[in-house]
């Protein structure tokens, strides 16, 4: 290829990169950019998910030490992921459906 063709091909690749960026970031907006805490609060306030405090009133969670709580979107299903410190000193993970509050099986990814 000549110098000129190479240069044109190079700019074509730049354009392809821009197209990729436009497709990937098309959902860009305040909601998408809000941090995860804000998003979780917005969902809770809208009544789309059960507040964490209500979930923690479940009998098997009462009195447990919660190390970490995350609200995750697993293939369109909102799931609370809790890390608990067991009395044996080990860390356990539990998953709960964030809408109904019912436990979901250990691997929400499947």
């Amino acid at each position: 290829m000549s110098e000129q063709h190479i240069n044109r091909a190079s700019w074509l690749f730049v354009a392809l990169l821009l197209v990729a960026a436009a497709v990937i970031f098309q959902g860009w907006g305040p909601a998408a950019l809000a941090d995860d805490h804000e998003r979780a609060h917005a969902l809770r306030d809208a009544g789309d998910v059960m507040p964490l405090s209500e979930l923690l009133r479940r009998p098997e969670l009462a009195g447990q030490r919660i190390l970490e709580a995350e609200l995750e979107d697993e293939h369109g299903r909102r799931v609370y992921e809790l890390e608990l410190l067991g009395s044996d000193g080990r860390v356990h993970e539990r998953y709960y459906d964030a809408v109904t509050g019912s436990p979901v099986k250990h691997d929400p990814g499947d």
Binding site: A9, S10, F13, L17, F25, A32, D36, H37, E74, G109
Partner: protein, 177 residues
């Protein structure tokens, strides 16, 4: 010939745009890792798309963008490292052998970080998360070595390699090219 220095085009537009876009995206992906899932994941996909295009361009692109231009065998690479150790490395117009392998190492580390990140949504999230963080840390380490190599090379050859990656042009004496 009285002309002392010549401006030689080295890095084509896509090499430069992809290089600096990758730096910017890496900062965004690092900064959004903890609290901004959407931005983190989309930027991760962008990095994977960029790597795909860069690898393709490495096969069909301009002279110094091609892997075949800057991937040297163990002998040449060791010879380069020896002379670098002695403080007088051979000068290359494109990537030197160490820089060439750094390009490959960085692309592989980022590809592995991206792939393990995508796989966090499947199977065993803990396993993929640990791998993802491991490759992200490896990438950061490689970036530090990369920047060190660029600064060292710039000093030893008395040329501004950072500016060359921005403008695409290096200055060469006629005899050098």
């Amino acid at each position: 010939m009285q002309q002392q220095h010549r401006r030689v085009p080295v890095w084509d537009p896509f090499v430069r745009v992809s290089h600096w876009s990758l730096l910017l995206a890496s900062i965004v992906v690092w900064g959004s890792a903890e609290e901004q899932a959407w931005l983190h994941e989309q930027t991760g996909y962008f990095i994977l798309a960029l790597i795909g295009l860069r690898v393709l361009w490495g096969l069909i692109g301009s002279r110094h963008a091609r892997f075949s231009d800057f991937l040297y065998g163990p002998e040449k690479t060791l010879a380069y490292m020896k002379r670098l150790g002695a403080g007088r490395p051979q000068s290359y117009l494109g990537h030197n052998p160490a820089g060439g392998w750094m390009v490959v190492a960085l692309l592989c580390a980022m590809l592995a970080a991206g792939a393990s990140g995508v796989l966090m949504g499947t199977g065993d999230p803990e396993f993929w998360e640990d791998l993802h963080e491991g490759f992200a840390n490896l990438t950061l380490f490689l970036v530090v070595v990369h920047v060190g190599g660029v600064l060292l090379s710039s000093l030893l050859h008395e040329e501004n390699l950072i500016r060359a990656m921005w403008t695409g042009v290096k200055m060469r004496r006629d005899a050098d090219v």
